[in-house]
C-alpha cells in the first residue's frame, strides 16, 4: 500500500476530522494530514501549499458536501479556477452521508475522482489507494 505525502480532510465536523486523521495515520496511509473546516479554509490551504511546489501540497482531498461558509460544491467550482501547477495530480473524492439525489446528479458533473459514503473505514481507504495511487 503506498503512503501519500499529504492528504487534506475538508469537513466541518471536528470529530469526523479527528477520527479520519487517526485512521489514516494509524494505517500509515499518509505522512501528513491537513485539516480544513470548510471550503474556504481548504482553498486557502491549497493556495498556501500548492502554488509553489512543496511536499505539503495534498495528493488526496476527502471532501464533505454540507459545510458552512463554502460547501463542497462551491469549493469544487472555485478549485477549478485555481492556477495550480499540480492540479492534475490532486485526487478529489467526495466523502459524505447519503446524498440527496439532486445533489448526487450535480456531483456527477463535477471534476471529482470518486465518491465514498461515511463512515470512512480501513477497507474503503485500501480500495481508494489501490484505485488511484497504486
Amino acid at each position: 500500500m503506498p503512503t501519500l505525502a499529504s492528504v487534506l480532510l475538508v469537513d466541518d465536523d471536528p470529530t469526523t476530522n479527528y477520527l479520519n486523521k487517526l485512521l489514516l495515520t494509524r494505517m500509515g496511509a499518509a505522512e501528513q494530514v491537513l485539516v480544513a473546516e470548510n471550503g474556504e479554509q481548504a482553498l486557502r490551504t491549497l493556495v498556501q501549499t500548492c502554488v509553489a511546489e512543496t511536499t505539503t501540497c495534498p495528493r488526496l482531498i476527502l471532501l464533505d458536501m454540507n459545510m458552512p461558509v463554502l460547501n463542497g460544491l462551491g469549493f469544487l467550482e472555485a478549485y477549478g479556477q485555481l492556477p495550480l501547477t499540480q492540479q492534475q495530480a490532486i485526487v478529489v473524492v467526495l466523502l459524505t452521508s447519503s446524498l440527496h439525489p439532486v445533489d448526487l446528479a450535480r456531483a456527477q458533473q463535477l471534476p471529482i475522482a470518486g465518491l465514498l459514503n461515511k463512515p470512512l473505514t480501513k477497507e474503503k481507504v485500501h480500495t481508494l489507494l489501490q484505485e488511484h495511487f497504486a
Binding site: 465536523d13 470529530t15 479520519n20 452521508s97 440527496h100 439525489p101 463512515p119
Partner: protein, 1013 residues
C-alpha cells in the same frame, strides 16, 4: 191617353138572365173589357164594361165602374198584364197568366185567363182571397192571417239567426248525408276553409275542399254520422291550401249529429274556433322552457355536487311533466264523460245488473234511492213488467246493443208513491272485457218527455182545430152548394157555364153518380192528369193514384153527408206513366150538387199551391236548421234589442251563465241588476253608440259547462257587435263568446312551471356560487397543504441527513475504540458486552434512519414507471431470498400463481411489496402451531388480485386500524421499524391499486392487494 171611343159612347153589355145568373154564381172573378184605341189607331187601353159579383168583391168596384184600366189599374201597364190582354185580343188566342199582384188595393197571387169574344174581351181571374166572406171563411182567413204573421215572425227570426250564424266568431257549418254535402257554412267557416261560401255550398265536403282530405276528418265525420255520437277535437292541426301558401291552423272542433224526424242522424253540425295563436304562443313558451332546461344542463355540468342537485331537480321536473301529462289524460277522460253528461248514464255489472257507476243526471232520476252496489231490480222495482229487465238480460246475454228513439217508461220519479210517465231516447250498450265477454251494460237515456208531450199536444190541438173548422164551414157552404146545384139544373145554359170555366185557372170537374163518373173537366184539371181520358169514366178507374191517396174517401164523405170538404195544402203524388212521381199541393173544395134535393154528384174546384207550400217548407227547414245551430252552439250567444238592451234571443249556453234567471224580454240591467256599477253596461253602450265591435279577452265566469252540471270556472272571450237595421241604424247588440279555458289554464301552468324552473335555476346558481367559493377555499388549503408537504419532505430529508452524521461518527468511534483498546481490556466480559450493545444500538439507529431516508425518497421520486411484470418469478425470487427464515421457522408455504399472470407495475416496487407481505407472514407466526402461508393470485375482469394468507398471530380491530400507519410496531418480539406496511400501502395506492387486511387475533391474517390492470 184617353181612348177616342169613350166608354160612354160604347155599346153596353146586356147579358141575358141566364148568363147573368151564371156570372153571379161564379166563384171566380169575371169581367168584360172593351178595347180603347189611341189617335194613331193603336190599342192602348181597355174600358171595363161589366164586373161580376166575385170581381166586384175582389176589386171593391161596382158592376159597371167608371174609367178605364189606366185610371183604375195603372199597374197593369208595368207588370205585363196589359200586354197580355192586348195580345189575347189582337191574336184572338185565349191565354192564361199567373201574376203576383200587389197594387190597386189587391195583394195576392192571381191566375188570370182572357178570351176574345167578338169586340169584347172576357177576363177571369182568381186568387185564394176570392172567397165569399162567410163567418166560417173569415175564421179560416183569420187563421191564415195568424199563420202568415207567425210565418213573418219566423221569417224575421230566420233572418236574425242567419245574421248571427253568418257573423258569429265561431265557425259553423252543416254537412248532410253520406257525401257530406255542405249545406251551410258561415263567413268564419268560409274563411277557415279558405274559399268563398258560394264555391262550397251544395258541394260534397271533400270535393269542394280536397286539401282537407286525408287529414283524418273523413273517419271522424263518418263516425259521427253512423254512431250519432257527438265528437270533439282539441287543438286539431289542420292544413289548408290557400291560394298563396299552405296554411297550418289549430282548431277546437265540435261535431254534433243532426237527426231527422225519425231520429236517424243525417247531418253533422260543425263548430270550430281557431286557437292557432294560443297554440303557437304556448309552443313558444315551451321552447323557452326547453332553452331554460338546456341552460340547466350547462349549469349541471359545472361540478359534481351541482350535478346531483340538478339531477334531483330534473327528477322533480319530470314529475311535474308526468303530473301535467296525467292531468291532461284525466282531463280527456273527464271530458269524455262530461260529453255524455246531459243524459242519464249508468253502468250495470254482471247478470244481475248491479249498478257500478251512475252519473249525476242518473242519480237525480231517483234522488231518494241508493243505486251503487245494488241490482236494478232492487233499485227500480216499479218498472217491473215494462220489459226493461228482460231487455237488459238480452243485451247482457247476446252482446247485441239496443237502441230506441222513443221509450216510454213508468216509474215513481217524483217520489210521490204514484208512477209518472216519461219518454227517453234509450241505449243499452254491452261492455266487453279483454277476452271479449260481456261484463257490463252501459245504459244511456236522454229524457225527451217534454218534446214528446209537446208533440202530442200539438197533434191533439190540430185535430180539434180541424174538427171545429169543418163544422163551421159546413152550413155556410150548403148555400153555395145549393146555388151550384141550381146552376147545374139549368141544362140549357150548361154550355155557357162550361165556357166560363174553360177559362178559369182553377182545376174544375163535375162528377156524377155514386161511381163519380167524370161529366166535365176543364183544361186545367185535364192538365193535372195529362194523357188520361177522364170524361165518361169513373174516378177510381182513371185516377187510381188519387183514389189510393184518400181522395176517393173524401168524395165518399161529401157524397154521403152532403158536407162540403175544404182541403188546404193537401199533397197529391201524381203518378204519370212516363215521368217520375212528383208531389203537388192543392187548396180545393169538394161540394155536393143536388137535383130535386137529392145528391147526384160532386163539383170540385182546386188551386195548385205547390210553389207556395214548397217555398214555405224550404224557409221553415232553413229556419229550423239555423235555430238548431244557434241553440246547439256550445258557446254563449245572445241578442239584445234596442237602446235598453232587451234580451231578445238567448241560447242555452248563454242561459247557463245565469242559471235559473229569467232573461228573455227583459232589459239588461233589469234582468241582471248586479251589473250596475260594473264596466259591462258602459261597454254595451259604447258598442251601441259607436258601432265599433269590442272584444273582452279571457273573462273568467263561474258557471256550468253543460246543462245540469256543477258550475266550474270557465274563461270566455266575448265579442260584442252592433246589430244594424237594413238602413244601417244600430238597433241592438249581439254578444258571442268562445271558450278559452284550456288555453288559459295551459298558459298558466306553463308560466307556473317556468317560474318554478326560474326559481330552481336561481337556487342552483346560488348553490353553484357557494360550491365555487368552497372550491376556492379547498384549492387554497390544498396549496397550503402542498407547501407544508414540501416543507415536511425537506425536513425529513434534512433530519435524516443530520442524524446520519453523528451516528456515523459513533460507529467510527466504536471502531476506533476497538483499535485503540488493548486486547485484554476488550476481552473483559463487561467491556466486550458493552461494545456489542453499542454496535447493536448503532445498527438499529442506522436502519431507522435508512428507512426514514427511503420514505423521503418515496415522496420525492415517484416509483419507477409501470411495466408488464410476470408475477410468478417475482414471488419465486422473494421466496429464495427468504428461504433461510422460512426454513428456520419450518413454515409451510404454498404458492398458487399462474405462470403467465402479468401485473402492470414498477418491478422494484412490486418486489418490495411481495417481500414485505411474505416476510411479515413469516415474522408474525404463532409459536404454538405449525406456520402456514398461502400466496395466491388471480386475474379478474379488469384487475389482478394477490392474497397473502397466514395462520399467525392475527390482529385485533384496533390493531388493524393502526396497521398501515407510520412507525406503527404492533409486536416487540420481532425486528421491525413500523415503516414497511406504510411504504407498501403508499406504493400500491400511488400506482392506483388497493390493499386491504382481514384478521382475527389467534387465527391469522389475510392481506389482499388489488393491482390495476
Amino acid at each position: 191617353m184617353a181612348a177616342f171611343a169613350s166608354p160612354e159612347s160604347a155599346p153596353s153589355f146586356e147579358p141575358d138572365s141566364l148568363l147573368q145568373d151564371l156570372l153571379a154564381v161564379s166563384l171566380t172573378a169575371v169581367n168584360l173589357l172593351r178595347p180603347c184605341y189611341s189617335p194613331t189607331g193603336e190599342l192602348d187601353d181597355f174600358a171595363p164594361a161589366y164586373f161580376n159579383p166575385a170581381a166586384q168583391r175582389m176589386t171593391g168596384l161596382p158592376e159597371r165602374p167608371v174609367g178605364t184600366a189606366r185610371t183604375l189599374f195603372p199597374d197593369i201597364f208595368t207588370n205585363g198584364i196589359f200586354a197580355f190582354y192586348r195580345q189575347v185580343f189582337e191574336t184572338s188566342e185565349p191565354g192564361q197568366l199567373e201574376r203576383y199582384y200587389q197594387a190597386d188595393g189587391l195583394d195576392n197571387y192571381f191566375y188570370i185567363a182572357a178570351r176574345r169574344s167578338g169586340q169584347w174581351l172576357w177576363v177571369s181571374f182568381t186568387d185564394t182571397a176570392d172567397q165569399p166572406r162567410t163567418a166560417a171563411e173569415n175564421a179560416l182567413r183569420e187563421r191564415q192571417a195568424r199563420e202568415q204573421q207567425a210565418r213573418a215572425e219566423a221569417e224575421q227570426q230566420r233572418g236574425e239567426l242567419a245574421y248571427v250564424v253568418a257573423r258569429a266568431p265561431v265557425a259553423m257549418g252543416l254537412l248532410r248525408g253520406p257525401n257530406f254535402l255542405i249545406e251551410l257554412a258561415n263567413t268564419r267557416m268560409s274563411q277557415l276553409w279558405g274559399r268563398p261560401a258560394e264555391q262550397l255550398l251544395g258541394q260534397p265536403h271533400f270535393e269542394a275542399l280536397p286539401d282537407l282530405a286525408g287529414q283524418g276528418f273523413e273517419q271522424v265525420l263518418r263516425d259521427v254520422l253512423t254512431t250519432g255520437q257527438a265528437y270533439e277535437q282539441w287543438e286539431q292541426p289542420i292544413l289548408i291550401a290557400q291560394p298563396e301558401q299552405r296554411y297550418k291552423a289549430y282548431l277546437n272542433i265540435t261535431y254534433l249529429p243532426e237527426y231527422d224526424a225519425s231520429g236517424q242522424p243525417t247531418g253533422i253540425l260543425i263548430y270550430a274556433s281557431d286557437v292557432t295563436e294560443q297554440v303557437l304562443a304556448r309552443q313558444q313558451v315551451q321552447l323557452l322552457n326547453e332553452e331554460l332546461a338546456a341552460l340547466n344542463e350547462e349549469l349541471r355540468a359545472s361540478n359534481e355536487e351541482y350535478q346531483q342537485a340538478n339531477a334531483a331537480l330534473s327528477l322533480s321536473q319530470q314529475q311535474l311533466e308526468a303530473a301535467r301529462a296525467e292531468a291532461e289524460a284525466e282531463r280527456q277522460r273527464l271530458y269524455q264523460v262530461l260529453m255524455r253528461m246531459p243524459a242519464n248514464i249508468a253502468l250495470l255489472r254482471g247478470p244481475e245488473h248491479v249498478y257500478d257507476l251512475v252519473n249525476a243526471e242518473y242519480e237525480r232520476l231517483f234522488p231518494a234511492r241508493t243505486t251503487l252496489g245494488r241490482t236494478i231490480r232492487e233499485v227500480i222495482p216499479d218498472i217491473e213488467g215494462q220489459g226493461f229487465y228482460e231487455l237488459l238480460d238480452r243485451v247482457y246475454e247476446t252482446g247485441e246493443p239496443f237502441y230506441e228513439a222513443e221509450t216510454e217508461a213508468w216509474a215513481d220519479f217524483a217520489g210521490t208513491g204514484e208512477p209518472q210517465r216519461r219518454y227517453y231516447r234509450t241505449t243499452f250498450e254491452p261492455i266487453r272485457n279483454a277476452q271479449g265477454q260481456v261484463t257490463e251494460v252501459l245504459n244511456v237515456a236522454v229524457d225527451i218527455t217534454a218534446q214528446v208531450e209537446a208533440r202530442q199536444q200539438v197533434e191533439q190541438l190540430n185535430q180539434e182545430l180541424g174538427t171545429r173548422v169543418q163544422a163551421r164551414t159546413q152550413e155556410t157552404l150548403a148555400l153555395q152548394a145549393d146555388l151550384l146545384a141550381a146552376a147545374q139544373r139549368q141544362v140549357q145554359v150548361r154550355e155557357s157555364f162550361y165556357q166560363v170555366f174553360e177559362q178559369t185557372p182553377a182545376a174544375v170537374s163535375l162528377l156524377r153518380g155514386p161511381t163519380y163518373r167524370f161529366e166535365y173537366v176543364n183544361p186545367v184539371y185535364q192538365q193535372v192528369f195529362a194523357g188520361r181520358q177522364l170524361v165518361g169514366h169513373d174516378f177510381a178507374e182513371v185516377l187510381p193514384d188519387a183514389a189510393a191517396q184518400g181522395y176517393l174517401a173524401m168524395l165518399e164523405g161529401v157524397y154521403h153527408t152532403g158536407e162540403t170538404f175544404f182541403g188546404a195544402e193537401v199533397p197529391f203524388v201524381s203518378e204519370q206513366p212516363d215521368s217520375p212521381p212528383h208531389t203537388v199541393y192543392f187548396n180545393f173544395t169538394y161540394q155536393a150538387y143536388r137535383e130535386h134535393g137529392e145528391i147526384v154528384g160532386i163539383s170540385t174546384f182546386a188551386l195548385d199551391v205547390t210553389e207556395q207550400v214548397l217555398a214555405r217548407q224550404e224557409r221553415e227547414t232553413q229556419r229550423q236548421q239555423l235555430e238548431q245551430l244557434f241553440m246547439q252552439a256550445p258557446t254563449p250567444i245572445v241578442i239584445l234589442d234596442g237602446p235598453d238592451l232587451v234580451f231578445q234571443l238567448v241560447n242555452p249556453a248563454y242561459q247557463r251563465i245565469f242559471p235559473g234567471r229569467a232573461l228573455a224580454d227583459k232589459p239588461l240591467l233589469e234582468a241582471l241588476p248586479e251589473l250596475v256599477g260594473t264596466p259591462i253596461p258602459d261597454l254595451f253602450q259604447r258598442v251601441y253608440q259607436t258601432g265599433e265591435p269590442i272584444t273582452v279577452q279571457e273573462l273568467p265566469l263561474w258557471m256550468a259547462r253543460y246543462e245540469g252540471h256543477a258550475p266550474e270556472e270557465i274563461y270566455w272571450t266575448f265579442t260584442y257587435q252592433a246589430r244594424r237595421t237594413t238602413h244601417g241604424v244600430i238597433d241592438g247588440v249581439r254578444v258571442f263568446a268562445h271558450d278559452v279555458t284550456e288555453q288559459v289554464r295551459t298558459r298558466q301552468r306553463v308560466h307556473q312551471l317556468n317560474e318554478e324552473l326560474d326559481e330552481a335555476n336561481q337556487e342552483l346558481a346560488a348553490i353553484n356560487e357557494e360550491l365555487m367559493a368552497a372550491n376556492e377555499e379547498l384549492h387554497e388549503s390544498n396549496t397550503q397543504l402542498s407547501r407544508t408537504n414540501v416543507d415536511l419532505d425537506t425536513f425529513v430529508y434534512t433530519a435524516s441527513h443530520d442524524l446520519k452524521a453523528p451516528i456515523t461518527n459513533i460507529e467510527s468511534i466504536v471502531l476506533a475504540l476497538r483499535d485503540t483498546l488493548p486486547a485484554s481490556v476488550q476481552q473483559d466480559e463487561v467491556v466486550a458486552h458493552l461494545l456489542d450493545l453499542l454496535n447493536q444500538t448503532v445498527g438499529r439507529f442506522q436502519l431507522t434512519i435508512g428507512q426514514l431516508t427511503d420514505i423521503s425518497r418515496l415522496q420525492l421520486v415517484h416509483a419507477g414507471p409501470a411495466e408488464p411484470v410476470v408475477l410468478a418469478p417475482v414471488v419465486e425470487n422473494v421466496r429464495l431470498d427468504l428461504a433461510p427464515a422460512i426454513g428456520a421457522a419450518d413454515v409451510r408455504l404454498s404458492v398458487e400463481v399462474a405462470p403467465d399472470l402479468v401485473v402492470s407495475f414498477s418491478p422494484a416496487n412490486l418486489r418490495s411489496i411481495v417481500y414485505n407481505l411474505l416476510s411479515n407472514a413469516v415474522k408474525y407466526r404463532a409459536a404454538d402451531r405449525p406456520a402456514q402461508v398461502r400466496v395466491h393470485a388471480e386475474q379478474t375482469a379488469s384487475e389482478v388480485v394477490l392474497t397473502v394468507q397466514d395462520n399467525g398471530l392475527g390482529m385485533s380491530e384496533v390493531q388493524q386500524r393502526q396497521l398501515f400507519g407510520l412507525f406503527q410496531r404492533l409486536h416487540t418480539h420481532v425486528e421491525g421499524t413500523g415503516v414497511g406496511l406504510y411504504i407498501t400501502k403508499r406504493l400500491i395506492e400511488n400506482a392506483g391499486g388497493r390493499i386491504a387486511v382481514q384478521s382475527q387475533p389467534g387465527a391469522g391474517t389475510t392481506f389482499t392487494v388489488t393491482f390495476p390492470a
